[in-house]
C-alpha cells in the first residue's frame, strides 16, 4: 500500500463476558484504511462486523464487552491507549459514525437543530448563532429541503430517509477524516437507499474523507466500496480490491456468499446455498471456522487456523486452498 494508512487495525480481539464464559466476537482482525478510500466490511449476522466498528469508536458496551488485544492506530496513535477525554474529542471530530437505526439514534425530545449544534459546539469554540448557521449549511448539504425551517423540527416530523440525512449531517458537521457507517441504509427502502448512497459518495468525494461501510448487502459493497473485507465468525476470511473479490473470490465462503445472492440480471434455475449455519461462538470449530460448511474442506483445514496469504497484490485470503483458485 502506497499511502500511509489513516486507520490501521492490528490483531484486534474483542471479547464479551457471559454467564457461560468469555466469547470472542472479533478474533485477530487486521486491516488498513488509507485516506479517501472506501473500505466495505461485509458479513452475515454474528460475523463480528458491527463489534469491530464499535471497538474502533470505543463504544463497546463495557461490561460485558472489552477489547482484549491488538491496536487501533488512527494517524499513528493507538486509540485504545487514549484517555477517555481525548477519545471523546476524537469521536465526532476526527472520526464520525452513523448507525443503522435513524429512528432510535436521534433524541426524540430535542429538535434537529439542538442535536446538530450540540455536536458542533462540543468540538469547536463557536457561538450558538454561528453553530446554527453551520447546522443549516450541513442540512442543506445533505439535501434536506428548506433547512431554515427544518432545523426546528423534531425527529418524529421527518421520514426515515430524512432522519438518516440528519444523522449524516451530524456525523459530518466537523469534517471528520474517517466515517464509520454501520448498515447505514439497511432500514431504508430501496429508492431511499439509493439516494443515501449517492449522497454519501458525493460528500466523500467533496470532503475527501475515508469511509468504512459495514453491510450485509453485497450489492451495496459492489456499488460503493473500493476494497472489501469479508468477515466470518469473528475473523476476516478474505480481503481485497472490490473487482477482484467479485470476479475472482478465492475463499470458499466469499464464493458461496456471492453465488447464494439472487441476481437481478442473470437467470439461474436454482440458487446455490451454503449448507448449515454459522457456528455458535461458544463452540467454534478448532481449525478454519468455515470448515464444517465448506465444500472444499480437507483434513488439514481442521488442524489449525489457516494462515492469511497474499494471493495477489493487496488480495488476502485465510484459506489453505486459496491458491488453487475458487471453484465457484
Amino acid at each position: 500500500m502506497a499511502a500511509q494508512p489513516l486507520l490501521s487495525v492490528r490483531n484486534l480481539r474483542t471479547v464479551f463476558g457471559t454467564m457461560q464464559g468469555d466469547v470472542t466476537a472479533v478474533d485477530d482482525v487486521s486491516f488498513d484504511v488509507v485516506p479517501g478510500e472506501v473500505l466495505g466490511i461485509v458479513g452475515e449476522s454474528g460475523s463480528g462486523k458491527s463489534v469491530t466498528a464499535l471497538s474502533i469508536m470505543g463504544l463497546l458496551p463495557q461490561p460485558p464487552g472489552r477489547v482484549a488485544g491488538g491496536e487501533i492506530l488512527f494517524e499513528g496513535r493507538d486509540l485504545l491507549k487514549l484517555p477517555k477525554s481525548e477519545m471523546r474529542r476524537m469521536r465526532g471530530s476526527a472520526i464520525g459514525m452513523i448507525f443503522q437505526e435513524p429512528m432510535t439514534s436521534l433524541n426524540p425530545v430535542f429538535t434537529i437543530g439542538d442535536q446538530i449544534t450540540e455536536t458542533i459546539r462540543v468540538h469547536e469554540r463557536i457561538g450558538a448563532a454561528a453553530a446554527r448557521v453551520r447546522g443549516i449549511e450541513m442540512l442543506e448539504k445533505v439535501g434536506i429541503p428548506s433547512p431554515q425551517r427544518r432545523i426546528d423540527d423534531f425527529p418524529h416530523q421527518l421520514s426515515g430517509g430524512m432522519r438518516q440525512r440528519v444523522m449524516i449531517a451530524m456525523a459530518l458537521s466537523c469534517s471528520p477524516k474517517l466515517l464509520l457507517a454501520d448498515e447505514p441504509t439497511t432500514a431504508l427502502d430501496v429508492t431511499i437507499q439509493a439516494q443515501i448512497l449517492d449522497l454519501l459518495r458525493d460528500l466523500q468525494r467533496e470532503m475527501g474523507m475515508a469511509i468504512v461501510i459495514i453491510t450485509h448487502n453485497m450489492g451495496v459493497i459492489a456499488e460503493f466500496a473500493d476494497r472489501v473485507a469479508v468477515m466470518y465468525a469473528g475473523r476476516i476470511a478474505e480481503e481485497g480490491p472490490v473487482g477482484r473479490i467479485f470476479d475472482a473470490p478465492t475463499h470458499p465462503y466469499t464464493a458461496g456468499l456471492l453465488s447464494s445472492t439472487p441476481d437481478l440480471i442473470g437467470e439461474v434455475p436454482r440458487l446455490r446455498t451454503i449448507p448449515g449455519t454459522l457456528p455458535s461462538l461458544y463452540e467454534l470449530p478448532p481449525g478454519c471456522r468455515f470448515a464444517p460448511r465448506c465444500g472444499r474442506r480437507v483434513e488439514a483445514c481442521e488442524a489449525g487456523r489457516p494462515a492469511t496469504q497474499e494471493i495477489a497484490p493487496g488480495h488476502f485470503a485465510a484459506c489453505i486452498r486459496a491458491r488453487e483458485g475458487a471453484s465457484a
Partner: protein, 339 residues
Amino acid sequence: MSATSPAPLLRVENLTKHFPITAGFFVKREVGRVRAVDDVSFHIAQGETLGLVGESGCGKSTTGRLVLRLIEPTSGKVEIEGRDILSSTPAEMRELRKGMQIVFQDPYSSLNPRMTVEEIILEPLYVQGARPGPEMTRRARKLLETVGLSPNHVVRYPHEFSGGQRQRIGIARALAPQPRFVVCDEAVSALDVSVQAQIVNLLQDLQEEFRLSYLFIAHDLAVVKHISDRVAVMYLGKIVEQADKASLYASPRHPYTQALLASIPVPNPRLRRPRARLTGDVPSAMAPPAGCRFNTRCPHATDLCRTVEPPAIEAAPGHVVACHHVASIPAVSPLAPQR
C-alpha cells in the same frame, strides 16, 4: 403463459381496504381514512407464483392478509377455486382455510415459545377438529422431514432453533393442512443470504412436489425475480404494473418500476452506473395525491397525471400498466444496457 390458462386458482377483483382513522375518546368519529389497498386485481394459476413487490407501506402485506380474509376488505371480491371467500360463513371459512395458508416474515415472533414444535406444526389441524394421537405425531415428524429438519425435533421448543430453522418450522405449519395456496409474506426477508437461499430453494421444491400456488410478498426485487412466474408492483395501495417476470424485468413500462429497478445496488462492481434517482419520499396513504399516485415523484408527470387517475391498460399481452404515458415512455430496463 398463465394468462391463457382456463380457471385460475385465485382470482382477486377490485380489492379495497380503507382503515378508518378515529378521534375522540368516548365517541369515536372518523376523521380520515388510510387507503391501504385500493382497487387491486390479480389472479394466480395453480402451481404458479405471483410476486408482489413494493416499498414499505405500499399495501402489499395488507393485500396478502385480505386475500386470506385475515382482515375484512372494505370492498372487492376474492375467489379461490371458484368459491367466493368474502361471502362465506365462518364454518365455510374454516373449511376453506385448509386450502390457504401463510408463512410470516419474522421467524422469532410467529412461533409460540411455549409450544413444542409438534404442537406448533399441528395446531392448524387441531383447529380443524383433529385429535392428538400417535398418528398425528407421525404426521408432524413427516412434515419436519419434508422441510429438511430432523423428525426428532418434534419435542423441542422454538428457542432451540436458528432463524432459518424456525422459518422451516413456520413452513411445515403452513403445509400441515395440505393447502393449495400459500401466502409468503416477506418469508425470507429476515434471513441471512446463505440461509435465505436454502429457504428459497425449499419453497421451490415444495411448490413442485405439492403443486402449490404462491403469493410471494417481498421488497427484494432480486429474490422476487428468482422465485416468481409473474410479478405485480405496488405503490401506495395500487398495482401500477403487472407482467410475467421476463418482460417486467427486461422491459418495465411504468416509471415507478423503472426507478425501482434503477435503485437496486447490483452485486457486480463492473455495473456501477450513474442513474436517474427518484427524489422525495412516498406520500402519506392518508392523503394520496390526486390523479396518479406516483405523480409527485414521476419524471414524466403532466397535468393529466395530476388530475386523472390512470386506468390499467394492457400494454402488451399479459403486461398491464397503470400509466397515462405508457405509449410514449420507452420500455428500457435500467439493468439491461451495460455489458
